[in-house]
């Protein structure tokens, strides 16, 4: 199981800014190990962010995203105390879900 995400969500005016750090190797599938064998691709494929249960961001990622990715985005709406939940699933089927409340 992957390490927890670090999530920050703050409301400014009529929009909310969400910043997420995820712990993941994001192996591109392009690298080789010391024996010359290709290291298989291993990366987060789907990311879904919900605000009080309603999806505000849904993304499909590929191998070009960096290791330990940082995701930052804004959406219209959101108020202090609302729940922000984030989940991802990688190409091996590993999952991780974390949530926070808007500060």
């Amino acid at each position: 199981m992957a390490d927890p995400m670090k999530i920050r969500a703050t409301t400014l005016g009529d929009s909310t800014e969400v910043k997420v750090l995820m712990s993941h190797e994001m192996e591109s599938g392009q690298r080789k190990d010391a024996q010359g064998q290709t290291i298989p691709a291993w990366f987060i494929q789907n990311v879904i962010v919900t605000w009080n249960g309603r999806t505000v961001l849904s993304a499909q990622w590929g191998t070009a995203v960096s290791k330990n990715p940082f995701l930052s985005f804004k959406f219209k709406g959101g108020a202090k105390g609302d729940r922000i939940a984030i989940s991802w699933m990688d190409n091996r089927g590993d999952k991780r879900s974390d949530e926070t409340v808007i500060a």
């Binding site: 390490d3 927890p4 670090k6 910043k19 750090l21 712990s23 190797e25 960096s66 290791k67 330990n68 940082f70 930052s72």
Partner: protein, 268 residues
Amino acid sequence: MKAVRSAVALAALAIAPSLLAQGSTADEIAKYRAALQDGNPAELWEGRGEALWKQQRGPKNVSLERCDLGLGAGVVKGAYAQLPRYFADADRVMDLETRLVWCMVTLQGYSEADAKKNPFGNGNDRKSDLEALTAYITSESRGVKMNVPMRHAKEAEAYRVGEKLFYFRGGTHDFACATCHSEEGKRIRLQDLPNLTTAEGAQKAYTTWPAYRVSQGELRTFEWRLYDCFRQQRFPELVFGSDAAIALTMFLARNANGAPFDAPAIKR
């Protein structure tokens, strides 16, 4: 007259980019760091380290929360800004990593070999507990002024040994730390090298380790920094937690006194 003036202007334009290049490289790297600072993955290590600190582990199944980092048992806030220091119970000057190993042995019952078998992590399969713990504890000193003590004779001795090591030339390349780090304006490729013989240089360097190295995707501690410098100057391998590692840390940490600690940082 007009033609002359525009020729002069052209000449000035031609010179400007090369004059700008040196300063702007450092500026651009600084901008790059600032852009990344917001989402510094070092926080992932801090989070894991905090959990490890509080978790009951080891043969004795206790947490590290009673570990004395120099300010009393369990005090984490500001502890790193006063390390390395002399610890009477161990009768030795210790840096943070060495002290953590000490606590893992004395409190949690690990063997010393087990406690320090993985000081530097490598990817998902070899995560280092010591790096995570170091990230957490150092993060609790952010903003605290460096105040490394030199009251005990052994602290003064460590400082002197560290200073000697810093200037000691050896290895296949007849290199010393000072070869790269005792002049202004030196660099490796595009990376400016701090002049560690000045207070300002030592402060800027010491207060920004540990750091998340983007190029490695890992959080690296100050012991790692020294270990890798030794490798780069073709010295014998620097043994983790050795007197040599602690003495060099003591020399640089003490020279950084007075500056606010500002890590875990993020570096290229």
